[in-house]
Point group: C2
């Protein structure tokens, strides 16, 4: 998402810091993604109040990656079922 040369450039605030995100997606999508991450970081900080911001960001990313892996596995199962039904 960020880092490519496509059209939209959206400024978002995540955990009190502004970031410019370049994305093919709509500014609204980018804002939703940023809000989700911001909320997850704040939730994580509540459970781990002594974490520095880098560790907080990394550990929040670990959690989201874990959710991503679980959803990927679920999607692969659906796709496997679908192939078997054909």
């Amino acid at each position: 998402m960020a880092g490519d040369n496509s059209k939209h450039r959206t400024t978002v605030t995540i955990y009190g810091q502004q970031y410019k995100i370049v994305s093919d997606e709509s500014p609204r999508h980018v804002e939703n993604v940023a809000d989700y991450l911001d909320q997850k970081m704040r939730e994580f900080k509540n459970y781990n109040p002594y974490l520095d911001t880098t560790s907080l960001a990394v550990l929040t990313a670990v959690n989201i990656t874990d959710d991503y892996f679980k959803m990927k596995r679920k999607l692969e199962l659906y796709e496997k079922e679908e192939r078997e039904e054909e």
Copy 2:
């Protein structure tokens, strides 16, 4: 994943920093998640060499959250199709 009180405690290294992750999942799953994130952060650093580590972690998390949202949408479409087929 991290932050709960379940069984496994796995030490992983992400972007040169060690983290203790507490998770219901197997140490192998946790290591896979950590390796994925570590690799994504390193890829992102190649494109954005002047980023500080916190911004790098946050922007990598933005990318993974974006992938997560897209996969979630795809899964919801499958589930909707499945309900319509019933």
